[in-house]
């Protein structure tokens, strides 16, 4: 599928800030499932900083804006050809060994309920187990926007039984770890078809390390594996680490955020 992306993030500060530094994971991953036709990221008034491929294989691009400034617009526009690989992350180069992803972070720390949930799943072989874990998470946490916030942990989301894709992903990472399967958080875009599939065009899902297959994506929120409707941007141990845009402003201005994402399928 050929997908067109137009993603605009506007930051407003109620008083001018001295400067802003951002770290972007806004470039589509290089793997067999996607091929970039065109891609451009712009930052209003921004100066491009260093760029590099990190240990997880993602392209990280730094930006800085010299203040005083009270509004910044980050715009991503591009076109990507995608292929359905049934969730497999094929031909993706990375330096971090899978074992390192077994390390918990604050939002993916387990509690008794998560451990129980993880053990409730069963499957014949690691791939089946991963599917079962993803289903278990989807069953335990209903998709309900607005019920959780940016800092909700996996344990909290499970306790209240509802959440959004971020919560599903954190919960799946936690459960996979209980079963000794490395897992991580993936951020990207999702093209929503008109068949009623929900969701934010700016999306998140999990990847679980399956021996013999490598990394395999699972999207509990949509009860599927990522296919050609998905664009993968980057990964991390949790939502914060995998965030497409991380930024810090120097100064006292209060920040307000305004995001619009449009994903369209090109007529071919």
């Amino acid at each position: 599928m050929r997908l067109l992306v137009d993603h605009v993030t506007r930051y407003h500060y109620d008083q001018p800030v001295r400067g802003v530094v951002q770290s972007h994971r806004l470039t589509p991953s290089r793997f067999a499932g996607q091929k970039v036709q065109s891609w451009e990221v712009t930052v209003s008034g921004g100066q491009r900083g260093g760029g590099f491929r990190d240990g997880a294989g993602d392209w990280v691009q730094a930006w800085s804006v010299t203040g005083p400034v009270s509004e910044i617009t980050v715009r991503v526009r591009g076109c990507v050809d995608t292929m359905d690989l049934s969730g497999l992350l094929r031909r993706h180069r990375e330096a971090i060994p899978p074992t390192a992803w077994l390390h918990p972070t604050a939002p993916t720390r387990t509690d008794a309920a998560l451990v129980d949930l993880a053990h409730s799943a069963s499957g014949n072989g690691p791939l089946a187990l991963a599917h079962a874990l993803s289903d278990a998470v989807a069953d335990a946490i209903a998709y309900r926007p607005g019920t959780t916030h940016a800092h909700t942990t996996a344990a909290e989301a499970l306790a209240q039984g509802e959440g959004v894709c971020q919560d599903h992903t954190h919960a799946l990472i936690a459960c996979a770890r209980v079963r000794d399967m490395p897992a991580r958080y993936v951020s990207g875009y999702l093209y929503a078809t008109d068949d009623g599939t929900p969701h934010e065009a700016s999306h998140a899902w999990a990847e679980v390390w399956v021996a013999d297959l490598g990394w395999v994506g699972f999207d509990p929120a949509n009860r599927c594996c990522p296919d050609d409707r998905y664009i993968r941007l980057g990964s991390g141990a949790d939502a914060r680490q995998a965030a497409p845009i991380r930024g810090i402003a120097r100064g006292n201005g209060e920040e307000r955020l305004d995001v619009t994402v449009a994903i369209e399928a090109a007529q071919q």
């Binding site: 400067g19 530094v21 951002q22 770290s23 100066q47 491009r48 900083g49 260093g50 760029g51 590099f52 491929r53 990190d54 240990g55 997880a56 990280v60 730094a62 800085s64 010299t66 990375e94 330096a95 971090i96 060994p97 074992t99 390192a100 077994l102 390390h103 141990a237 914060r240 991380r246 930024g247 810090i248 120097r250």
Partner: protein, 470 residues
């Protein structure tokens, strides 16, 4: 005679390196000694060295007791130590380069995978990033103890930011001011070149993007830190700026410091703050000490950070056991310096051994420091041992155990005159384009009779450390 090796007297006779100190010692009446001791303290106060070493915390205005009796190494003794220290520093850096790259040592099964990759100090954020010249730990502090004329053991490695080097320099300075005659009668190798050597070492690992003379700075957590004096002392001697996080900012591909004449680019940051505080964008978002965006600049080759983020994975107490293995694996050499045999309570068999031999062992917390949370079996009562046994059983993986080492002694001025006291040694090995070691280090001494704990928070003091010229 005790069972401990006395570095000055060997079976009654004075060992050669100490020969000339004997007359000096004998010729010093108590009154003069007290006078000199007071003079030394006044000098220290005046210079302002009143900080804790090794992150022990405590009152920042406290003076660490300085003992005037020097600790002496013969030229040959030191050459062997030097070779061993440099070898170890090379192996530790080779290990770091490897685990952040292909992890050959893990693939070869020489170190357990999880011990490395699930270690708190393994930093995913720098995997696949090669620092300039491949150096991760630019200042390696190796803590050594001696048990006999030729027996040295490494107690632990410090690959992050070993402290205390200002004591090495100040102890020497004060001895030279107070006893110039000693430096005439003994040929003692100088240590005063350390700050310049450190500056050159750091300059040699400037990033490739840096053209011309690199700007080096020392990054301190701030003036409330107990080691602030050391930071400012070193910066002054090296002739570089001492900066706090707020003095630096990221713009474009580089890091700059705020000066009265506008932004000035910084090429090498010798940081004295922990990894997690370096950059709120990459690590702890609540860090007020760091510089937002620093890690992106570092990882894209715009600045060098010394020690490199993630270097701590090499000096972990659990990894320590494998350092001799690193020497063999990376260098194809036999280790010159030995490790202390260590039992890991996380392992079932080791735990069993530890529990049945507690009265003879020293038990330490894996992540402890400063001599706290530690059991010295032979010096403990039955009740203390039993209480500790309960603690170990509760969380065995938190503890390691080692035999009680018969630490060597060096004559030390005490209330009653001169008496042997136990010592250890921390030399500071510099790793850049070249690998360098100034002849000397910091000798810590347990001032309490019979004590084996040299930490300043537990009654330890410091001594000048001499290496005699050939």
């Amino acid at each position: 005679m005790s069972a401990y090796f006395n570095e000055m007297y060997d079976t009654g006779a004075v060992r050669p390196p100490y020969a000339r100190l004997r007359d000096w010692m004998d010729a010093m009446p108590t009154e003069l000694r007290n006078l000199k001791q007071a003079e030394a303290e006044a000098l220290f106060r005046r210079i302002g060295i009143t900080f804790a070493v090794y992150g022990e915390g405590g009152d920042p205005d406290r003076l660490i007791p300085f003992d005037m009796f020097p600790r002496v190494f013969a030229h040959d003794e030191w050459r062997r130590l030097e070779r061993g220290i440099k070898q170890r520093a090379r192996a530790l850096n080779a290990f770091l380069s490897d685990v952040y790259d292909r992890g050959e040592i893990v693939r070869a099964g020489r170190i357990p995978e999880r011990l490395v990759y699930l270690n708190e100090a393994y930093e995913k954020a720098v995997a696949g990033i090669r620092p300039p010249k491949g150096v991760y730990s630019h200042i390696v502090g190796i803590d050594l103890v001696r048990t006999g004329p030729d027996q040295f053991y490494v107690l632990e490695d410090n690959c992050r930011t070993p402290s205390g080097v200002s004591y090495m320099l100040e102890n020497r300075e004060i001895m030279m001011r107070m006893f110039p005659e000693l430096f005439r009668s003994n040929r003692i190798e100088p240590v005063e070149g350390y700050p310049e050597l450190l500056r050159r070492t750091l300059a040699s690992v400037a990033p490739e993007k840096c053209k011309g003379d690199p700007t080096v700075v020392i990054l301190t957590p701030g003036h409330f830190n107990s080691a602030y004096y050391e930071h400012s002392f070193l910066a002054d001697l090296m002739g570089v700026e001492l900066v706090e996080g707020q003095d630096l900012f990221v713009e474009g591909e580089f890091v700059f410091m705020r000066t009265t004449q506008g932004p000035q680019r910084v090429d090498v940051i010798y940081r004295r703050i922990d990894d997690t505080f370096l950059d709120p964008l990459c690590f702890r978002p609540d860090s007020m000490l760091g510089i937002a965006g620093l890690m992106d600049v570092y990882r894209s080759g715009g600045v060098t950070i010394a020690s490199a983020p993630g270097a701590g994975v090499a000096d972990d107490k659990a990894i320590y056991c494998f350092v001799p293995e690193m020497v063999r694996f990376y260098l194809g050499e036999e280790p010159i310096l030995e490790n202390v045999p260590t039992w890991q309570c996380a392992r079932h068999d080791d735990l069993k051994y530890v529990l049945s031999n507690l009265p003879e062992l020293v038990v330490k917390e894996v992540h402890g420091s400063g001599g706290y949370g530690m059991l010295v079996g032979p010096k403990s009562s039955k009740e203390q041992i039993e209480a500790f046994r309960a603690k170990i059983l509760e969380e065995p993986e938190k503890y390691i155990a080692q035999p009680t080492l018969a630490l060597s002694t060096v004559p030390t001025f005490v209330e009653e005159g001169v008496a042997p006291r136990h010592v250890d040694l921390r030399p500071y090995c510099l790793v850049g384009e070249r690998i360098e070691l100034v002849p000397g280090g910091l000798t810590r001494v347990a001032l309490t009779e019979g004590s084996l704990v040299v930490n300043s928070s537990q009654g330890g003091g410091v001594k000048d450390t001499w290496v005699l010229a050939e």
